[in-house]
């Protein structure tokens, strides 16, 4: 099989959300001594971009996006140990993500984290009920590009504001793009607290993060 044909099959497996097939093709590419980074860039990543484009065009819905991300993860699980740096994240951009202190919801945050990983971001997931200073400390430690905070209640979304205030106080606000999300969060809130944006679902969060890189 020609390399180009294999790359096409890789993209197809992601578009179809076929986890088993994407893992199989990833293993096959290693047996054929194809550079794993090449398989990601020219095969799997093309697939996940197309999944995003199909969602934008209204041809795909949330379940298909998630299936695409799952298939991407299956391939990345096979390929990542064989990439020289040993790290995921083909974009070379790091995201620190978590649900703010006092809030134990994590499903939405997990979906955003997985979608970001599938789209080439390296994600440091702090989990739920994260002490606010931990967002700042971790972002500094790992030299993150993004800080993403989730909050599901009006009583906990104030934590997003406090983290941004901490960044401002330390004079490091401009080092990071800060994205906020969660059921009570909207554009107005994001603007008022000085965040760089918000998205109403995981796919939009990826689009927003990618747009902020341009």
């Amino acid at each position: 099989m020609r390399k180009e044909e294999l790359f096409e099959l890789m993209a197809k497996a992601i578009i179809e959300g076929n986890r088993e097939e994407s893992a199989r093709l990833a293993k096959l590419s290693l047996e054929l001594n194809i550079n794993p980074q090449e398989s990601i860039d020219l095969g799997f990543a093309k697939g996940i971009k197309e999944v995003g484009a199909m969602w934008e065009r209204g041809e795909y819905f949330l379940p298909e996006l998630l299936m695409g991300a799952e298939a991407m993860k299956s391939a990345m699980d096979v390929l990542t140990p064989h990439i020289l740096s040993g790290k995921s994240g083909s974009l070379g951009k790091k995201v620190v993500i978590g649900t703010v202190e006092g809030d134990i919801h994590d499903i939405g945050k997990n979906l955003v984290a997985s979608m970001l990983i599938a789209n080439g971001f390296e994600v440091i997931d702090l989990g739920a009920d994260v002490p606010l200073e931990k967002f700042v400390i971790t972002a500094e430690e790992v030299r993150a590009d993004f800080i993403c905070m989730s909050a599901l209640l009006t009583t906990t979304m104030i934590g997003q504001k406090k983290v941004i205030e901490m960044l401002v106080e330390k004079g490091i606000r401009n080092k990071y793009k800060v994205l906020v999300g969660g059921a009570p969060v909207n554009e107005d809130w994001a603007r008022r607290i000085g965040a760089d944006g918000t998205a109403s679902n995981a796919a939009q969060a990826v689009s927003l993060a990618l747009s902020l890189l341009r």
Binding site: P63, M67, G102, I104, D106, I107, S114
Partner: protein, 211 residues
């Protein structure tokens, strides 16, 4: 009217309809064969891990902290419902492990199942209220409209929440997450119940309920 706690487990709950799940997943295609197997798996997980429980009590209106929303009622029923924490733990684990869609389906089912527990509990309250010759209004929960989330703490001082495994976090969030608190106004006179009772106090001019 007797004022005592009523606590229990509802009878086996009906199956959440597939069309409801698809709507919550925002899936608009007629052919959903690709995700149907995951929905089937989701049913098995969600129903086996749900542990539905409820507790409620009917209070005279003047025996609970004042709120404008209770001003016309003679009595107020306060209720807490949950399906326990096993389901939400599994949904979190699935999404963390990369099984995003299955995890989301289980989570969505959990939200629907706990609503059914609330519906069942509400029906018990309505039955009790009817037997006493009173009228039950609609149920409402803290955090919606003018019924502030802060009022949530009163549910936990007035009801034995821990006896059904619910805790209140400092953020006023309930743990397990798949839990519902709600109040029902109880009137002597049917005319006092008005669908616009909440609207009278709420300032959300564009709310769907006003139209």
């Amino acid at each position: 009217m007797e004022e005592s706690f009523k606590k229990g487990e509802p009878p086996p709950l009906p199956k959440v309809e597939e069309k409801v799940i698809l709507k919550l997943l925002k899936y608009k295609k007629k052919d959903y064969s690709k995700i149907k197997p995951l929905i089937e798996e989701g049913y098995k997980i969600a129903y086996s891990l749900s542990k539905p429980r409820y507790v409620y009590k009917i209070f005279s209106s003047d025996s609970i902290p004042h709120h404008p929303i209770f001003e016309r009622s003679s009595f107020v029923a306060l209720a807490l419902c949950t399906i326990g924490e096993e389901l939400e733990n599994e949904a979190s684990k699935l999404t963390k492990d990369g099984e995003l869609l299955k995890g989301l389906i289980v989570d969505v089912l959990g939200s629907e199942i706990v609503e059914m527990v609330a519906d069942y509990t509400n029906s018990l309250i309505c039955k009790e209220v009817m037997e006493m010759g009173f009228y039950a209004g609609k149920r409402f929960s803290p955090g919606y409209g003018i019924f502030e989330l802060g009022w949530q703490k009163n549910f936990f001082t007035l009801l034995p929440a821990e006896s059904i495994g619910i805790k209140l976090l400092p953020s006023m969030m309930m743990f397990p997450r798949k839990s519902i608190s709600f109040a029902v106004n109880i009137f002597k006179d049917e005319k006092k119940e008005s669908s616009s009772l909440v609207c009278r106090f709420c300032d959300r001019a564009n709310c769907e309920k006003r139209r």
